[in-house]
């Protein structure tokens, strides 16, 4: 007896094969496992009782041609491989260039990607362990390839960083051994550090940190993108899928909400009075403002 979900998946797979401009001789049965995996990952995981209409909509929005191409490649279709390489060599190279410091590194990275895609390693069942198996067909194939390149670049960079870090640590340890027994040189904190320390001491920092953590995920992400990652509003908006103006309005609202929340934390949890909170806000902000100005003038901005 076919369940409602299975029925939706079968029908959706049939429609996907039908609407692909080049189905590469793939059948509904060949596509069904990949479609099922995508539906489970992005829909059923969050709501096992996802309605039939929503599943159908999800499948109908999948990238039919890209998915057929990838599955055909996995099945060893030579023409599909040729098409994949022809169509996406430029994408992979471009992504590798933007993730690498020089042309040689970019070339190495691009070659690594193609090796990963082709699957030089083999799985337990004897089939090549290709990264292609992880493409769901939900986003574009070009976007997925860029993500694969970016991930590999980050992993490679981190691996190299760890190597450098280890060498540096060794050097530091040696230096520490040489300087053993000697008193540490007392370092005078910079004005910026002293202000920061005051900020930390007042409890304001902890309260603000707590308030940020309590924000809804979407708002918290915007705060992180804008204040922590120093993105422009346009860039932050792009990540969230909203226009720059929307991101700006949202940020203003978040600031107001955070202020209210911080005040509440300070009053309710730390026993501050309302007046003390207001004064503290103004005082710290003034110090930080002066501090920022001095930093900016030093940097020649």
């Amino acid at each position: 007896m076919q369940t409602e979900v299975e029925k939706s998946l079968n029908e959706g797979a049939a429609r996907l094969v039908a609407r692909a401009s080049d189905s590469r001789s793939l059948t509904r049965e060949l596509l069904l496992p990949r479609i099922t995996a995508a539906v489970e990952k992005y829909l059923l995981k969050d709501d096992p009782n996802t309605p039939h209409a929503e599943i159908s909509k999800f499948i109908d929005e999948m990238q039919a041609d890209d998915l057929c191409l990838i599955i055909a490649c996995e099945r060893g279709d030579e023409k599909a491989w040729t098409d994949l390489v022809e169509r996406f060599t430029a994408t992979v190279r471009s992504a590798a260039r933007s993730a690498s410091s020089n042309e040689d590194a970019a070339e190495d990275l691009a070659q690594s990607i193609w090796a990963e895609l082709y699957g030089l390693r083999t799985r337990k069942d004897g089939m090549p362990a290709s990264k292609l198996a992880y493409y769901s067909g939900r986003g574009s194939l070009a976007g997925w390839l860029r993500a694969v390149v970016a991930q590999l670049a980050v992993d490679t960079f981190r691996k190299q960083s760890r190597l450098v870090q280890t060498e540096e640590d060794t050097d530091l340890e040696r230096l520490a051994r040489v300087a053993e027994g000697q008193p540490l040189v007392a370092r005078i904190p910079t004005p910026e550090e002293s202000i920061s320390n005051r900020f930390a001491k007042t409890g304001m920092q902890q309260a603000l940190h707590q308030a940020v953590q309590e924000l809804p995920a979407e708002d918290r992400l915007l705060v992180k993108l804008y204040y922590f990652d120093n993105l422009r509003l346009r860039e932050a908006g792009a990540v969230l899928g909203v226009h720059e103006a929307t991101a700006s309005r949202r940020l203003t609202r978040i600031q107001t909400e955070l202020r209210t929340r911080v005040t509440k934390i300070l009053v309710d949890e730390r026993g501050w009075t309302q007046a003390e909170t207001e004064r503290s806000f103004a005082e710290i902000a003034q110090h930080l403002d002066t501090d920022l100005e001095s930093i900016l003038s030093k940097e020649g901005v």
Binding site: Y134, G139, R259, A285
Partner: protein
């Protein structure tokens, strides 16, 4: 007040970002895979799944960096954005693409070159025009005898001009040769300039009848009016090539013309009222072509030569090439007493009046007559 408060929060958040930036850990569990990252960056995820990944991204610096990178490079068009921001119209897009900095990077120098070329062309053309005027003025200032001689002068194509002086032929042959060797890039301005010249000449009858003076005289061709017209048409076409002649070849042409005049004085007798066919264009080879070209450059409408005078039809009037608008004109009606008196004194005018139908303006002995 609210803005100030927000400024305070802005500063506090910036400071928090600085402090926490170094201490943020990836305590958010498993990182997003490539499919999740790209689907998130492309805004292609169902709401629930997206919310789940948003929570992770808010905590995980590594994944956030990757999503930011993918959002920037993927050119993601968010659903919200397409809904709120109206799509620019086609012509706006076209204009935007036309005035894009990348386009102007190349278009601006090209436009500059075109402007310089256009100015150069106009200046050169202005330099050429006085030469013409001078030439025509010289023609006018010559005695009727010399004018009569001139009427035959460019007639290399006429039977009487079958044996031009060797110098003249050499000079004439130079012109087309140099025309042919003119550099190709000159072709475009040349064509436009000559076209403009033709237009000017064509428009002349309406604006300035005196410009008929620009027409150099030609031997008469009474019996062959239609071939003459055809020749004029040929001249019109060939005129497009003429201005390509370099200044040196222009000089050669003028020399040749002078030589022609000298030679023709021996051939064409003033007042002989000789009617000679002028439609044989190609019989003289390159020199003839040069003549046709220069004639084409000077004439625009149908012309005829009668009694040693060259007439050009402007509208319904045959106008003597020697006629100048500043001249006083005596109007004489055919068959009138005045007309009979005039032709009695000047029989050549009768010949002209008989040959040319309709209204005629003829210059005779420094006086202009309008015969109706």
């Amino acid at each position: 007040m609210r803005q100030e408060k927000n400024n305070e929060m802005d500063l506090l958040l910036r400071r928090l970002g600085r402090r926490d930036d170094a201490t943020v850990s990836n305590a958010a569990g498993v990182h997003l895979d490539a499919d999740e990252l790209s689907a998130y960056a492309e805004n292609a995820l169902p709401a629930a799944a997206r919310a789940r990944y948003t929570s992770h991204l808010a905590e995980c610096t590594r994944c956030r960096e990757l999503v930011v990178q993918l959002s920037a490079s993927g050119g993601m068009v968010s659903a919200a954005e397409t809904a709120t921001v109206s799509k620019p119209s086609l012509w706006r897009t076209l204009l935007a693409s036309l005035f894009a900095p990348m386009v102007w990077r190349y278009a601006a120098p090209a436009l500059g070159l075109i402007v310089v070329a256009a100015i150069g062309f106009v200046v050169l053309r202005r330099d050429q025009e006085p030469t013409h005027v001078t030439q025509v003025t010289n023609n006018e200032q010559r005695s009727p005898t010399s004018i009569a001689a001139d009427t035959a002068s460019p007639a290399v194509d006429s039977p009487t001009k079958a044996t031009p002086s060797p110098e003249a032929v050499a000079g004439l042959q130079k012109a087309p040769a140099q025309t042919g060797s003119a550099p190709a890039p000159n072709a475009a301005p040349v064509v436009s300039s000559s076209t403009e010249a033709s237009k000017d000449l064509a428009a002349a009858p309406k604006q300035q009848p005196a410009s008929a003076n620009e027409a150099a005289p030609k031997p008469s061709a009474t019996p062959e009016e239609s071939p003459r017209t055809a020749e004029t048409e040929v001249s019109k076409k060939e005129v497009q090539e003429l201005p390509a002649v370099a200044p040196a070849s222009e000089r050669a042409w003028r020399d040749a013309q002078r030589e022609d005049r000298k030679t023709d004085k021996d051939v064409a007798r003033p007042g002989s009222r000789r009617a000679e066919p002028t439609d044989k264009v190609s019989s003289q080879g390159a020199g003839s072509v040069a003549n046709v070209q220069r004639d084409g450059f000077l004439f625009a409408g149908p012309t005829r030569s009668v009694a040693g005078r060259r007439f050009q039809k402007r509208g319904a009037i045959w106008i003597d090439s020697a006629y100048d608008a500043s001249r006083d004109t005596t109007t004489v009606r055919r068959g009138s007493e005045q007309y009979r008196a005039l032709i009695a004194d000047e029989p050549a005018i009768k010949t002209i009046a008989d040959e040319l139908d309709g209204e005629i303006i003829v210059v005779w002995k420094s006086r202009a007559y309008r015969i109706r």
